[in-house]
């Protein structure tokens, strides 16, 4: 074990290699409509000008018989075009059922699937929602990586999404 010790010391000294936490809060608005369907929502991270870095979550009707729920994935237009159409659904750790109106918190760890290890730079969190017999909305939150201390950013959807908050804990 003499060889192991120096390695352990080195990683401690390097510091910033420790994984950070990304906590998202996504609000699905409560809507008073005659026929309400829970929206399809996709959350992903992009590097501006470079494309999709990670798919974080896709909430859709994944339990429908014969994968019928996949028919409407294309309605999350930007997500579909940038990454969705290249995927085979369901994706482990990413696909999930549609969520009810309210605030939903999800946590990701840098370098732990589905969040890729983020190299330093500017990123964007995108959240896209499409609702049956309703509309579609896209919300963007830019953020920088790594965060020097605990960081927070938020955006407000107008129609199909409510408050979206991004918290980074280094």
């Amino acid at each position: 074990m003499r060889t192991l010790l120096p390695l352990t010391l080195t990683s401690l000294v390097a510091g910033p290699a420790l994984a950070a936490d990304l906590t998202l809060s996504v609000e699905i608005p409560k809507l008073t409509v005659a026929e309400y369907h829970r929206p399809y929502v996709a959350l992903w991270i992009e590097r501006p000008g470079e494309g999709v870095v990670s798919n974080l979550a896709v909430w859709y009707e994944l339990k429908k018989k014969d994968k019928e729920g996949e028919k409407w994935l294309k309605d999350m237009r930007q997500w579909w075009r940038k990454t969705g159409r290249d995927l085979t659904m369901p994706v482990d750790g990413v696909s999930g059922a549609t969520k009810t109106p309210g605030k939903h918190e999800i946590k990701f760890t840098d370098g732990k699937s589905p969040l890729a290890k983020l190299t330093p730079g500017k990123y964007e969190l995108l959240v896209e929602a499409a609702r049956e017999v309703g509309g579609r909305e896209l919300v963007r939150i830019p953020f920088e990586w790594p965060a020097k201390g605990p960081a927070s950013a938020s955006a407000q959807g107008a129609t199909e999404l409510g408050a979206i908050t991004l918290n980074i804990k280094p």
Binding site: K67, E70, K71, W72, L73, K74, R85
Partner: protein, 271 residues
């Protein structure tokens, strides 16, 4: 000319030679969707001959010549064909991931005008019957051979390009930008090829749907470059009619004009 004769002539002409002449009605197809997800979705297509876009107001387009090219190279025929007064409708089921090309291809139909004595006569038919039916003593003979290609596209999942390959016959569109990946505000590039070679200096007309609800046609006219390429930045989302035609002397019979036409209906999505 009595009504019955006029109607039967119109039907005859439609079946044999589309388009008829420079003043012919537009012929087009309109797909229900071009971007699809899920398992084995259907696309339903309207085929019509009608000037206003995209309204059914003149004549149904026959779909006997429609061939559907699938992502893996196999071909399909239209299903559930419905023949109406103003449009023909058919379905296509997308069972493979990738891009399908739905094409109506007409080639070889001919029309001629000539004089026998002082009488002007008109003839329509194919190259085989031309020699038999047009008299040897015809004067002022003007012959044209028409070929036309009318296309629409649909993609399930990730777009592919195998079905977009050229046949190198007639006027065809070679995509640079994928035809089902069109977004309002973005520039799309395509090439027009004639018999597999770039068609330079060709005027392309692009018209957005919804003519009935505005005063101006809002057509976009662009010319192809030396390499047959042209670009268009879509002003709004929606369906667009794209058309180009060319005339030369490369008919399959001597002393005839060849008229080659290309039409496509493209869907542009909102970003």
């Amino acid at each position: 000319m009595n009504r019955l004769l006029a109607r039967s002539l119109t039907g005859f002409a439609v079946a044999l030679a589309l388009p008829l002449a420079a003043h012919a009605h537009r012929a087009w197809m309109l797909p229900s969707a071009t971007v699809l997800s899920g398992t084995d979705p259907w696309v339903t297509v309207d085929a019509a001959i009608s000037n206003d876009l995209f309204y059914f107001e003149h004549h149904a387009m026959p779909v006997d010549d429609v061939v559907i090219l699938t992502p893996d190279g196999s071909t399909l025929k239209p299903e559930n064909i419905g023949k109406g007064e103003y449009r023909t409708t058919f379905d296509v089921q997308l069972k493979q991931q990738g891009t399908y090309k739905i094409a109506a291809i007409r080639g070889g139909g001919m029309n001629a005008s000539y004089k026998v004595g002082s009488e002007t006569k008109r003839w329509r038919g194919d190259a085989a019957s031309f020699a038999k039916e047009v008299p040897a003593n015809a004067t002022d003979l003007k012959v044209s051979q028409n070929s036309s290609r009318i296309e629409v596209f649909a993609t399930l999942g990730k777009p592919s390009t195998s079905a977009l390959a050229l046949t190198n016959t007639g006027l065809e569109l070679q995509p640079v930008t994928h035809p089902t990946d069109l977004i309002a505000g973005e520039e799309a590039r395509f090439k027009l090829m004639l018999d597999g070679k770039p068609a330079p200096d060709l005027e392309v007309t692009i018209i957005p749907h919804g003519i009935r609800y505005r005063d101006q046609l809002n057509e976009i006219k662009v010319k192809t470059g030396a390499d047959g390429a042209f670009a268009v930045t879509w002003p709004n989302p929606g369906m667009y009619y794209l058309n180009a035609s060319i005339q030369d002397n490369k008919a399959s019979v001597p002393n005839a004009t060849r008229r080659a036409q290309y039409t496509a209906t493209l869907e542009v999505l909102h970003p």
